[in-house]
């Protein structure tokens, strides 16, 4: 007999969405700062940095793809309803996804054949993605 999807399961999914989206926001900034530091120091070969950035673009797209997947399930209406009880709106999911998706979409094709281009790409990410709200320094 299958375990029913109760509000406990719905809460778990909502918390996973929070962890994924705020974590992705944090990772996009942190990784851009890491790549920028390496490019400024010219301590890592350009081809390695470019490969890492391309790999990260794929990893970001994977994470961004999880939300539309669960939004297509019958449980999504319950997840969204739980979020509404917190004072949120369904539009907020799109508002969070839009800037993250823009960075993920641009990171793969952006020019990164020189250190200057890599630094410019990282600067664009850092400018576009602010740090998530946090109680403690991150």
């Amino acid at each position: 007999m299958a375990v029913p999807v109760t509000q406990v399961g719905i809460l778990r999914a909502l918390l996973q969405i929070e962890r994924n989206l705020t974590g992705l926001q944090r990772d996009m900034r942190n990784n851009a700062q890491t790549w920028r530091t390496a490019a400024l120091a010219q301590s890592t070969p350009i081809v390695t940095l470019a490969s890492n950035m391309n790999s990260a673009a794929t990893a970001y797209q994977t994470r961004l793809g999880w939300l539309p997947t669960i939004q297509a399930t019958p449980e999504w209406s319950r997840i969204a309803a739980l979020y509404v009880t917190m004072g949120g709106t369904g539009q907020e999911f799109a508002d969070m996804m839009t800037p993250l998706s823009a960075v993920a979409d641009q990171l793969g094709p952006v020019a990164k054949t020189t250190y200057a281009e890599i630094i410019a790409a990282c600067d664009q990410i850092i400018a576009a993605i602010n740090a998530p709200l946090s109680l403690w320094p991150e």
Binding site: N30, T34, T48, N52, M53, N54, T58, A59, Y60
Partner: protein, 212 residues
């Protein structure tokens, strides 16, 4: 997502400079010395472009420490708080197939429980290391052989080859009755480049002894 990926377990990013292609799995938040259940950090995207992190942290928490900065890969560790803990670290692989894994399980300051088991999603691929290290500054490798110093681990740690039929790699740190410690983990496609820094001279490539 791409391999190789190294993961150095310690408390804070800034303690040492990581060796490519390593990512620092630090305490959450950075420099915290205990990861609590609610602070499990999977998914985190590493600077090398892989999704990884602590997926399940026992209610007792994971202990994180910086130890000694003379060797970046062995500079710290994450460890079970109690012997009955099971903590699960996850990494999403870019592909299935044969992978070569390397491990350092130990503690610069003390002898350490060393139970680390590798999983392909939920199927065990074997216990990489077990028991305890015999003293401080000794690390067990992926074949459960104790390396007697940092230099010994760097030069002689042996790899293990495992075949993944899924793209979810999990490491269980602790068995539920025996604790475990993670200092360093490295995974690459079998046949890939050596994990250590390759030293180039004019016409000679010196490789880590373990790869010869």
């Amino acid at each position: 997502m791409a391999l190789p990926q190294g993961i150095a377990f310690r408390a804070s990013n800034a303690f040492v400079t990581d060796i490519a292609p390593d990512f620092c799995e630090n305490g959450v938040p950075d420099a915290d010395t205990q990861i609590d259940t609610g602070e499990a950090d999977y998914p985190t995207t590493s600077a090398q472009g892989n999704n990884l992190g602590w997926e399940t942290v026992d209610v007792d928490g994971v202990q994180c420490r910086n130890r000694n900065n003379s060797n970046a890969r062995l500079s710290g560790m994450h460890q079970c708080t109690n012997a009955n803990d099971v903590n699960i670290f996850r990494m999403d692989l870019p592909s299935t197939g044969a992978k070569t894994v390397r491990l350092a399980s130990g503690d610069f300051n003390y002898g350490a429980d060393a139970y680390v088991e590798l999983f392909d999603t939920s199927s065990s691929l074997g216990i990489l290391s077990s028991g305890t290290t015999s003293a401080a500054a000794k690390w067990k490798d992926a074949t459960n052989v104790e390396r007697t110093s940092a230099a010994d681990w760097v030069s002689n740690n042996a790899s293990a080859s495992k075949v993944f039929t899924t793209t979810i790699l999990r490491l269980n740190m602790g068995s539920g009755s025996v604790g475990g410690t993670l200092s360093f983990f490295h995974v690459e496609d079998s046949g890939g480049a050596p994990p250590g820094p390759t030293i180039y001279t004019d016409n000679l490539v010196l490789m880590p002894q373990a790869m010869l």
